[in-house]
């Protein structure tokens, strides 16, 4: 472990804002890339199922 303790790890030698902002942004963009297709998929499946039910009537 390069850092002595948790607080110096979080402080990143004075560069905390830069490092954590970057990793935070990365987390956001990664999350969007994972979640967006899941939401779209749910919507598509709902639409298809609605269409199927309509046809079965």
């Amino acid at each position: 472990m390069f850092f002595d303790d948790l607080s110096s790890f979080l402080a990143m030698g004075g560069h905390a804002e830069y490092v954590w902002l970057s990793y935070g942004l990365a987390a956001v963009i990664v999350a969007i890339n994972f979640i967006s297709p899941v939401l779209t998929r749910k919507k598509i499946i709902k639409d298809i199922e609605r269409q199927l039910r309509r046809e079965q009537k």
Binding site: M1, H15, V19, K42, I44, I48
Partner: protein, 258 residues
């Protein structure tokens, strides 16, 4: 041998086959990618030694470099997919190209943002018009163009072809753009500090970089597969295999797999 290739070619054109095989592969890419990313990030953030000149801000490299590399190679992949679609008339290829565009653009944005953030403690300003950042910005504009053309054309077939042409033209121009930007840069600035160290990095700093690069690529595959499957589901919604897929309890696949 030729019959093998021919069969593969026909299979690749089949949405159903594509759907099934990407569903299987996604699990592996997700698992491998997550392990690589977790190891790489933890190693890079907590265990790698700080840089002699830049201190701890250099740790941004573990995000910035993968995002840059990936957004550049994603554009090439998108162009190649467009080319394959045009030349061999393979619709699945067009679909893959289409879904890559927003992902690549988001990674270019990540690269630009982390580059700017890294630049602040290193150069003192949030943004510098150095050759690398400027080229990445232009790459983002190229992505914008492809996305805009998909949005503008309603007919699917026309949109695919138009976007493919644009992506191919863009990728051919990338070396020209890079060269001009570098030439422009030499006129205005002395040799700039490069953001990435050449591989004279100590292995404890270099290996986590390799891990996060590979991890990002694996996750990229997961994202491409997920979006491609959505396009397939939508396009093939009237077919029997999709109907059967939904009835046979798709619900257990939405959670575990992407």
């Amino acid at each position: 041998m030729w019959t093998r290739l021919k069969r593969l070619y026909h299979k690749m054109g089949s949405p159903k086959w594509f759907y099934e095989i990407t569903t299987r592969w996604s699990k592996w890419f997700m698992a491998v990618g997550s392990i690589l990313m977790l190891t790489g990030v933890v190693w890079g953030l907590a265990f790698a030694p700080a840089d002699y000149l830049q201190g701890n801000s250099f740790r941004i490299i573990y995000i910035h470099v993968p995002a840059s590399l990936l957004s550049q190679s994603a554009y090439i992949m998108m162009a190649v997919a467009g080319l394959v679609g045009l030349v061999w008339n393979m619709k699945m290829s067009f679909v893959v190209g289409k879904v890559i565009a927003p992902i690549g653009a988001s990674l270019a944005i990540l690269s630009l943002l982390t580059g700017a953030i890294w630049g602040k403690p290193t150069w003192g300003t949030w943004w510098v018009w150095d050759a690398r950042l400027t080229s990445m910005l232009i790459l983002l504009f190229l992505y914008f163009g492809v996305i805009a053309i998909y949005n503008a054309i309603e007919n699917d077939e026309m949109a695919n072809k138009a976007a493919a042409v644009l992506a191919i033209v863009g990728s051919i121009n990338i070396p020209v753009i890079k060269y001009s930007v570098e030439w422009w840069n030499t006129l205005h600035q002395p040799a700039t500090i490069t953001l990435t160290k050449k591989p004279t990095m100590a292995p404890e700093m270099f290996i986590p970089l390799m891990l996060t690069i590979l991890g990002f690529y694996c996750w990229f595959a997961v994202w491409v597969f997920a979006r491609t499957r959505n396009e397939i589901l939508f396009k093939e919604r009237k077919t029997n295999w999709v109907k059967k897929l939904l009835q046979s309890g798709h619900k257990k696949t939405t959670g575990a797999q992407l």
